[in-house]
């Protein structure tokens, strides 16, 4: 460039002023995101505890926490429960049910659509403590609404079927997001494309396969990424089962809480948090790969 002044950026903003604009945001990100993440990695390498000697004077124990976690049955069972939780409540439950709702409601007249959307949305916007109380009241062994409806007095849903209970709970809780996202995505499918398929004699399944899904694939991927990550890290169900009974609904976020805060082993908890972070990153990168692959196919 002819104006070889290194202090002036193309936008005409001096480098110093540009840095000035960026700094507050960078400081916030640094203090609240980068530092805690690094601190977690450091803690994961120590035997730091909530109370006692190791709280006052933690020692670096190297990879001991990680090897312990990977060899621990409770960690592995928790990981397996988390996989069930994510697949069951997010991928199958929320995504499929959300899409089904969006697809069914797409051409409905105003009131039906608005009322259904309103109810589904309500489950999403209620505070988690309120929602947890509602579900405890619903599933209670003695006075529970569900037992009253099903005429199954004395069934202890949360004790006998803790995983199924929190999976159904999370489907109920989170479907609104998928429904709204797919609802918006379906607006992008031109009616004439669906009608062309109908005129060719395509069934609903064929219309979905040939017209709708290719059109909203990006939305589906984004939705799956977001709800998988959210569900993977979700802590709301803790207020219903607290991971019990006997750890049978102890998904990873609950496990970390139980180990680090209830059990007081902050260092061990931090190590597991770091493993969870790695799993989240794997999710995100896999999604980005798929999305990039898709772009290359669409724009040859």
């Amino acid at each position: 460039m002819s104006r070889a002044d290194p202090a002036v950026s193309p936008a005409g903003l001096g480098r110093r002023r540009a840095v000035g604009f960026m700094l507050p945001a960078l400081v916030l990100i640094g203090v609240f995101l980068v530092f805690p993440a690094l601190w977690t990695i450091y803690l994961g390498l120590t035997d730091y505890r909530l109370t006692g000697l190791a709280a006052a004077d933690p020692h670096v124990v190297g990879a001991a926490n990680f090897t312990e976690a990977l060899g621990d049955d409770r960690f592995r069972s928790s990981l397996w429960l988390t996989v069930q939780y994510v697949l069951g409540s997010a991928v199958v439950g929320q995504a499929v049910l959300g899409f089904a709702l969006a697809w069914t409601l797409r051409n409905r007249p105003g009131p039906v659509k608005r009322i259904t959307e309103g109810l589904v949305l309500l489950a999403w916007i209620l505070p988690s403590s309120v929602v947890a109380f509602l579900w405890i009241a619903l599933l209670d062994r003695d006075e529970g609404t569900l037992n009253a409806i099903l005429h199954t007095p004395g069934t202890a849903w949360l004790l006998d079927h803790p995983m199924s209970s929190i999976i159904v709970f999370n489907v109920w809780r989170g479907t609104a997001f998928s429904m709204m996202l797919y609802g918006a995505a379906l607006e992008n499918v031109p009616p004439s494309h669906l009608e062309t398929a109908r005129l060719a004699g395509a069934s609903t399944v064929q219309q979905l396969r040939d017209v709708v899904l290719p059109r909203i694939r990006g939305h589906v991927l984004t939705n799956l990424l977001l709800i998988s990550l959210w569900t993977f890290n979700d802590f709301t169900a803790f207020q219903i089962t607290a991971g019990g009974p006997e750890g049978r609904s102890e998904i990873l976020p609950m496990y970390i809480y139980n180990v680090a805060l209830s059990g007081g082993r902050l260092g061990f908890g931090a190590a597991i948090s770091f493993l969870v972070l790695l799993i989240n990153l794997v999710f995100a990168f896999a999604y980005l790969r798929i999305l990039r692959g898709r772009r290359e196919v669409v724009v040859p």
Partner: protein, 354 residues
């Protein structure tokens, strides 16, 4: 053959898009539904396709009542205004799509797609995706998709309106030839009267959900049944002037004109196409009364001719002047109707005999 009997489509909210309509369309006919937007022509087409369910009445195709059949079982193919090509499929897959739904084996349907594409000069483009095609090519792919499955009826919704003006004329000629060759019953919707006149064997002019006039392009152009049709058909708007019939003479916009004998005395509407009037810079020899006289208010260049607007008292009268003979703005001029070309309406019905 398509037969519609008492066909009514009422939308929620009480809008009657199609109102108790009867219509027969013959085998192999190229049929136009013409009208301004909101007249119900697209709803009628979609009802024939099965995309809308009629409130009452029946639709029969080829003698069979299809009123309750879903669109996929009516053996019709529709080309939409936006062509509705699937962006993620190449041209072959798009053309072969209806065959794929009918479970035609892959080899057979690709052969069929290639054959149809060759007929529409699309062979070079078979491996491309719709996003890489021009508007005209996309339209031909949409046509090919309709043709490849050999339907009983073609339905076209504004087939030419997404093309630019020059391409539209080419596509029009192409479409007419193609329809002749295939000889498949074709119904198309258009708001462009020129397109309807040029393409169709017969035209139904629609307004407010009803057919106002049904006839060949020549009939509809020469003898519009109502002033609405008269005003709608023709590339330049017809002069429609209020007048009075009195003792065999017609008093209209300051002129006194001869009147066909069958018109009784009373108020009438006088219709004259600007193309059927001659413009003269001097009064016609047989007296001032046989022509409209006025000052030239507007001159519009139509290319090979000029559309001239005269101010005749309170009324505006338009006539077409040949190239090079256009009058100067503000000059005095006379519009002489050609004999036998004027149309007389009373109570919105045509009085003039053929």
């Amino acid at each position: 053959m398509i037969s519609l009997r008492g066909l009514t489509k009422e939308f929620p909210g009480g809008v009657r898009a199609v109102d108790a309509l009867d219509l027969d369309i013959g085998d192999g006919e190229f049929f136009a539904l013409l009208g301004p937007s909101g007249c119900g022509k697209t709803t009628l087409l979609r009802t024939i396709a099965g995309l809308e369910t009629p409130t009452s009445g029946t639709v029969a195709i080829g003698g069979a009542d299809v009123t309750r059949l879903p669109p996929g079982r009516r053996d019709v193919a529709m080309v939409f205004q936006d062509y509705a090509l699937f962006p993620h499929m190449d041209v072959t897959a798009n053309i072969a799509y209806p065959l794929r739904i009918r479970k035609v084996p892959r080899a057979r349907r690709e052969e069929k797609a290639a054959e149809t594409a060759a007929r529409l000069s699309l062979t070079e483009l078979l491996a491309r995706r719709p996003g890489q095609l021009s508007g005209g090519q996309q339209q031909r792919v949409a046509l090919a998709r309709a043709i490849a499955c050999h339907p009983k009826v073609f339905l076209f919704d504004e087939p030419l309106s997404n093309l630019d003006a020059r391409l539209r004329l080419e596509a029009r000629t192409f479409l007419k030839r193609l329809q002749r060759e295939l000889a498949v019953t074709t119904v198309f919707v258009t708001h462009d009267q020129g397109e309807a006149l040029a393409l169709a064997d017969r035209i139904a002019v629609m307004s407010a959900g009803r057919i106002t006039q049904l006839g060949t392009p020549a009939e509809v152009f020469r003898r519009p049944a109502t002033t609405f049709v008269a005003g709608f058909i023709g590339s330049t708007p017809m002069n429609l002037l209020p007048g009075t019939a009195e003792g065999g003479r017609l008093h209209v916009a300051g002129a006194v004109l001869p009147l066909p004998s069958e018109v009784p005395d009373g108020p009438v509407v006088y219709g004259l196409r600007p193309e059927y009037a001659d413009l003269s810079p001097s009064p016609p020899p047989f007296g001032d009364g046989d022509a409209f006289s006025g000052k030239v208010a507007v001159v519009e260049n139509l290319g090979t001719a000029h559309l001239v607007t005269l101010e005749c008292g309170d009324h505006l009268v338009q006539a077409v002047a040949p190239e090079g003979e256009e009058p100067a703005l503000g000059a005095l001029a006379w519009v002489v109707p050609r004999p036998g070309r004027a149309l007389i309406y009373r109570d919105d019905a045509l009085l003039t005999a053929a």
